[in-house]
Subunit: 232 residues, 2 copies
DNA sequence: CCGTCTGTTTGCCGTGGCGCAACCAAGTGC
DNA sequence: GCACTTGGTTGCGCCACGGCAAACAGACGG
């Protein structure tokens, strides 16, 4: 097992309040695992054997409904903790996580969680903050889905992706992993068709420019105004 | 300050893993406060000075959008922890909590939280589980809003209310606090009018019976089938 | 007991966005 | 280089809901 350099991860919010030696000791218990593009890191309803920190790549976390529809819960970026099912009192994963590009994650056995939090109480506190902010995100999403129409929901979703994974390019800001219109649809409760129409409209206004699994935001501020429903 | 009998609250999930004396000591730091019907326990964007356990009554927690629309986040029932903004790393409350009936809550100053979790690590673990299950609820709601049409969403909302606060009466199961069609609308992302129409339709099928701020479910199983989209 | 207020019901109409279908374009594998 | 697959675009018709409007009924205060 290749040991992971502490300096890569010691600054993550997950490890706040832990002494460097403590972080080292935790890292020694973790494995670093590769997940090639398209593979599942864990599966909905599968036994929650592990929890993770993403080191490299991007994951798509989604729920599958009984009738086969997918709903994207979130995208995971490097540095984020995920798969903490055990910590929140579950024995199975509530969703599936798939690598959208080749990815690498640190993996701990869930069984180690109780001992780890007992030894490092800060872990529970840090995880509580992480889960708490996800709860707020989820509530924000509920509010948006309750009160906004599709175009604004899509705008909000795109802006969130920009904040989380925006990369500056010549033309503006690009979302730095492959994402389809279908993905955006599954994030916003819209259909592929509607998302496509909206993005096309934005493109013709010079707001964004698109491509296959690619979105570049040319005028983030304009998009923000649109998301907030303000006149521009 | 009236001291609260430990036996009333010691079994709550929040205090799991704490010794009786520890619970006693925590209770000594809490105040028991009355909130008459219609008053706010805390306000959205207000400073998160306290966290709470509801002893008696029912609260309606909602978010207000910039344009004045309300979205109900949840209803709080006796025994539940709420207002844990500080624990999840916020300095202000993300929503408003209003007493829908005369209510009583235990109140701790948020400032005491860091010391309390340091002394009783189990608190962080228990809160993590609570927040975690709320996160799952929120995700369930997102999935429902993304994939189901109104009638099924309303059915799911009503069934959740039944599970949380159902009281057996002669005619069936009644939701044991006053709730309006508008409330249901704000829980499901529908309008008052649509909710009213749906409930009327159910009533004419003998599924439920309604009244002013009152819903009695006469055939919970039928409603469940409807919620799951199964033929009956 | 009456006026008022708040919650509810119901009809009618308009429409946002979904479903379907056809077509197109860019990768990808052989 | 060509077939095939995957993702994207766009037109058309429809319908589930929302918006508006009007009327109603139980609760509450004076």
């Amino acid at each position: 097992m290749a040991s992971v350099d502490r300096t890569l991860v010691a600054d993550l919010p997950m490890f706040a309040g832990l002494a460097p030696e403590q972080v080292d000791r935790m890292l020694q218990e973790a494995q670093s695992v590769r997940y090639p593009k398209g593979t599942n890191v864990f599966q909905q309803d599968g036994e929650a054997h592990s929890f993770f920190i993403l080191l490299h790549g991007h994951l798509r976390v989604f729920k599958l409904t009984p009738d086969g529809q997918q709903v994207v819960v979130r995208f995971v970026s490097p540095g984020e903790v995920f798969g903490v099912a055990m910590a929140i009192g579950r024995t199975t994963y509530p969703a599936t996580a798939t690598a959208v590009v080749d990815s690498i994650a640190l993996v701990w056995p869930s069984a180690a969680w109780p001992r780890l939090v007992a030894t490092h109480p800060a872990l529970a506190v840090n995880t509580l903050q992480t889960v708490g902010s996800r709860l707020q995100d989820a509530h924000t999403r509920v509010v948006e889905m309750s009160t906004e129409q599709v175009e604004r929901r899509i705008a909000h979703a795109v802006l969130r992706l920009v904040r989380q994974s925006g990369r500056k390019v010549e033309a503006g800001v690009e979302i730095d992993f492959p994402i389809t219109r279908q993905d955006i649809a599954e994030m916003t409760g819209a259909t592929l068709h509607t998302v496509s129409r909206v993005l096309s409209a934005w493109e013709s206004q010079g707001l964004v420019e698109g491509g296959r699994q690619r979105i570049v935001i040319r005028q983030p501020h304009k998009l923000f105004l649109l998301a907030e429903g303000l006149p521009d």
